[in-house]
Symmetry: C2
Subunit: 547 residues, 2 copies
């Protein structure tokens, strides 16, 4: 096989690490994704840098921790100038295009202050976190009394209209709604309707549509190297699926809920408040889980079927032999585990994601079909892509906080690898912060974990600690257990050292610094010299003026 | 007196906190600066955020710690988009102009990538850390075998040429050089020539020239409110002064060196290596101190005389009644104290600076002539200026890490004030780092101090600790003393908490976040809803489509 020429970077939204058959789900068969794993490397311990869409993606696209890029919540703009995937790949001769979701919000204020025209090429890229948007679609075409959540033009709605689905927002009325017995609309936003078939042909639903758009891009792209970020908006809510996926699974197919009554006894205060959120209360009910999870599974099954369609397309065009293919997710979904819904906090259900990478190059043959247990992070993908594109990720070490996975894709055994993985959460926007009276500046939560231990540091409150060796389901919080003080101290010491790292010295590379090390002296800056004889005569040359 | 309409922000370069008579120097009389202190507030414990010109100034101009803005060494560019003094003051109707030094290096790579024209107004401001440069002069017109250290056009050289001082670089040949007995040039870069008179008329030397330029600006500025950053390049090296300042002081006028032989016994490793630097070795010699310090004092005396000239000019134009005047420095100068030269590390000689603020407003009358012992930082100046200009510094709390001094200028007693001050040093460019084999990513040094204790944290090495109550001269390093483990832990805990602060969430303000708190729900994002009845009917309005 040839080396990778293109990169197909597939991201699912809210796909839990354990909801694929190759990751051990007993009932949800995902043969196409499994086949990719059989041809590539499956990472068993990949963690996202934040369990929330926006910040997680901004970390993935910049290769930097959330504390470094600062876009810590959906709708918090990524600062202008922050280098992203496209900024690194284009100089290497690879275009970077987007089909689907990024949850990027542009920093319009700074763009205006710096005079960056939003209509210019750089303006569009700055507003789309570095991608050329072939089609930007966050899958959040919601409308309320105050108007649309996403005020962009929705091309998918135009497509649905053309297909005969009427109204201003067929995304909701057809793709994300069912029908009541009296013929009225059953909105997908009300989860009780989850099992009803969406009012759209399966072929016209969001996942096949996005795959179609990806195929359009690839067809148009021709021979020039490309990185395509195919970013699905499923299995993210609204939890509703078109037939036949809405009824493909039933309550007997869902894996047991991971929770214990003991978790509700004197819980860590932030955790306690998150359990009070509406979504947590809703998912705590078995009837909800039994209705929602089968549909969540159906949406994943649909993605797998569409992967089969996409991979066949690539094969037919001979692209399977020169395209690096990545499949991952931006975070998980609690689905009622630990008495929580959505993706807050740091249990594996939330921050651990699937990561499968297929490298077509010969060097990767040795590792095909293997699994890799190394602690990897979403921020490792960008360095990996830079290396795959023929660049050198290490040249950007002043900015990139992740590490190239290339050696691991080729059976390499790096002498050293990270001993801890870190994830962060800014809960400034949550009811929990308001109830706890936490000031805006103090709303950081940190996870630091190694292969066995996981600590949640919540400034102002006691930590949470889990021993995954003896408690793989993370049900027993040892955060206040005197017997584990030393473990907490060890993890906190590592987190504290991380907090003091250099993360903003982004404008100078080590190589440039080394090159300029003696610059000032050779340009006449002579510090601490008493007598001319102390330094070479040539350094004085320019100072031998005549009188 | 009226409230402040203008701000005159005077910064000296490398002026130690204790080399002014109002700060207790027994021999160096600075009556004009003392008079300013008598009309304003003199801060006795002001610390810079880095003891190096560039990073210290970037912190002052951005109101952010070095770890936050990342421009951690001279020549390391400030990232594009970082908000600076001018960006905050202009929207308040106050222009921000520069006369003198900033040590700013533009991030040309990012400017080019973002298409910011260096010739445009925003391009120039971005390259000059937000100021409109009336005259940019870093006072580093050095030339060596590889060319000029500063490749800008030197207006001061043009001025000297017009005045009849010949050659390509009269800055060196006249303003910073003396003459040997044989008539040859005695370069100021060789410190042995320090006591020789510079070959320039005093009125044409750098400090009077800069004051003249400031007066030119003020004359041209007219009635529109202005903030003028008058940034002297003295008493910074080259240590050479025009007559009569070169001989105004002698070795009997210098205050005793602050050092002890015990400091050389098993010193902290980073400190040990800094003692090996050429400049430290040079200043360790008494003959050097006895030649250099009198000239250093002369250069300060000249600044004080020029302050008299400038204040008289302001008075004559009625500007003393409506101009907030600040006098401070970017860092100190070891001058041989602690066996060090220059301004590395965190002894008071290096990181403590004078800070005098004169507020013309009536509200400040109660505090005139007083001293303030509060721990203040250079990053407090920008918030103070924003408040003085009629803005609200607290509106920018997501970026500004300092705190407005306005209450302290008006006799206020804030309920809370910072308990610790922090300074940082990036020693990646030093021989010390090379000798110690410290990796580029690990070259941070941190100082955290309260009123009594001062800790230096050097990742990878043992800390330094000083008890200024019992050891005001900081001669006894308690960094390895078991008896002070609890103090070290207390200070490290505070530094660690600081390291985990939110410093990059710069694109959203708390007020905007609060305003948008319920935005997503009112725009149709309905999370965790099982039954329509759980939330107000109006939220469903847009979803009541017909079938």
């Amino acid at each position: 096989m040839a080396a990778a020429k293109n990169i197909l970077f597939i991201m699912c939204d809210q796909l839990r690490w354990d909801y694929l058959s190759c990751y051990g789900h007993p009932k949800l068969q995902t043969p196409n994704i499994d086949a990719l794993a059989a041809r590539g490397v499956r990472f068993t311990h990949c963690y996202v840098q934040s369990p929330v869409c926006g910040p997680s993606r901004m970390s993935t696209y910049t290769g930097r921790y959330m504390q470094s890029h600062g876009a810590s919540w959906n709708g918090f703009p990524l600062r202008v100038g922050e280098m992203t995937m496209g900024d690194y790949l284009r100089p290497l001769g690879m275009q970077a295009a987007l089909v689907g979701k990024t949850h990027m919000t542009p920093d319009k204020e700074t763009m205006q202050r710096l005079g960056i025209d939003p209509q210019s090429t750089i303006g569009v890229r700055t507003a789309e976190c570095g991608f050329d948007p072939y089609e930007r679609d966050d899958g959040l075409w919601a409308i309320g009394p105050d108007g649309a959540y996403d005020e962009r033009v929705c091309r998918y709605n135009q497509y649905l209209n053309q297909k005969g689905y009427g109204g201003d927002n067929p995304w909701h009325d057809y793709a994300n709604a069912g029908e009541n017995e009296d013929g009225t609309l059953a909105s997908g936003w009300a989860m009780r309707h989850a099992r009803k078939p969406a009012r759209v042909e399966e072929a016209d639903s969001e996942t096949p549509y996005m795959v179609g758009r990806a195929m359009d891009f690839i067809t148009e792209a021709g021979d020039a190297p490309w990185c395509l970020h195919l970013s699905f908006i499923k299995p993210h809510w609204p939890y509703i699926a078109p037939a036949p996926y809405n009824t493909m699974y039933g309550k007997d197919d869902i894996i047991p809920v991971v929770r214990a009554d003991s978790e509700k006894i004197d819980p860590q205060p932030v955790y306690r408040e998150f359990m009070q959120h509406r979504v947590s209360q809703t998912f705590a009910r078995d009837e909800v889980r039994e209705e929602i999870i089968p549909v969540y599974m159906g949406l994943i099954k649909q993605i797998d079927d569409q992967m089969g369609r996409l991979f066949a397309f690539l094969k037919q065009r001979g692209l399977m032999d020169n395209t690096l293919i990545v499949l991952t997710s931006d975070h998980g979904d609690y689905l009622g585990d630990h008495w929580l819904g959505e993706k807050d906090l740091f249990h594996d259900a939330s921050v651990r994601v699937p990561l499968i990478i297929y490298d077509p190059s010969r060097e990767a043959d040795v590792a095909r079909g293997t699994t890799c247990p190394a602690l990897v992070e979403a921020i490792d993908l960008l360095p990996t892509f830079i290396d795959a594109a023929g660049g050198k990720a290490s040249d950007h070490a002043q900015r990139l906080e992740g590490r190239s996975l290339m050696p691991l894709l080729r059976g390499g055994k790096p002498e050293t690898w990270r001993e801890f993985t870190i994830s962060e959460y800014d809960y400034s926007m949550t009811q929990a912060a308001q109830r706890l009276g936490v000031a805006f500046k103090d709303t950081s939560l940190f996870m630091i974990a190694d292969a066995r231990w996981k600590l949640m540091h919540a400034p102002g409150f006691r930590p949470m600690l889990f021993d995954r060796e003896n408690d793989p389901q993370e049900l027993k919080d040892l955060g206040a257990d005197p017997a584990h003080e030393s473990e907490r101290q060890r993890l906190m010491a590592a987190l504290n050292a991380w907090g003091l790292r250099i993360s903003q010295r982004v404008t100078v590379s080590e190589s440039r610094v080394n090159a300029g090390r003696s610059r000032s002296m050779r340009r006449g800056i002579l510090i601490g010299v008493w007598d001319e004889s102390e330094i070479p005569e040539e350094l004085w040359s320019a100072y031998r003026g005549k009188n």
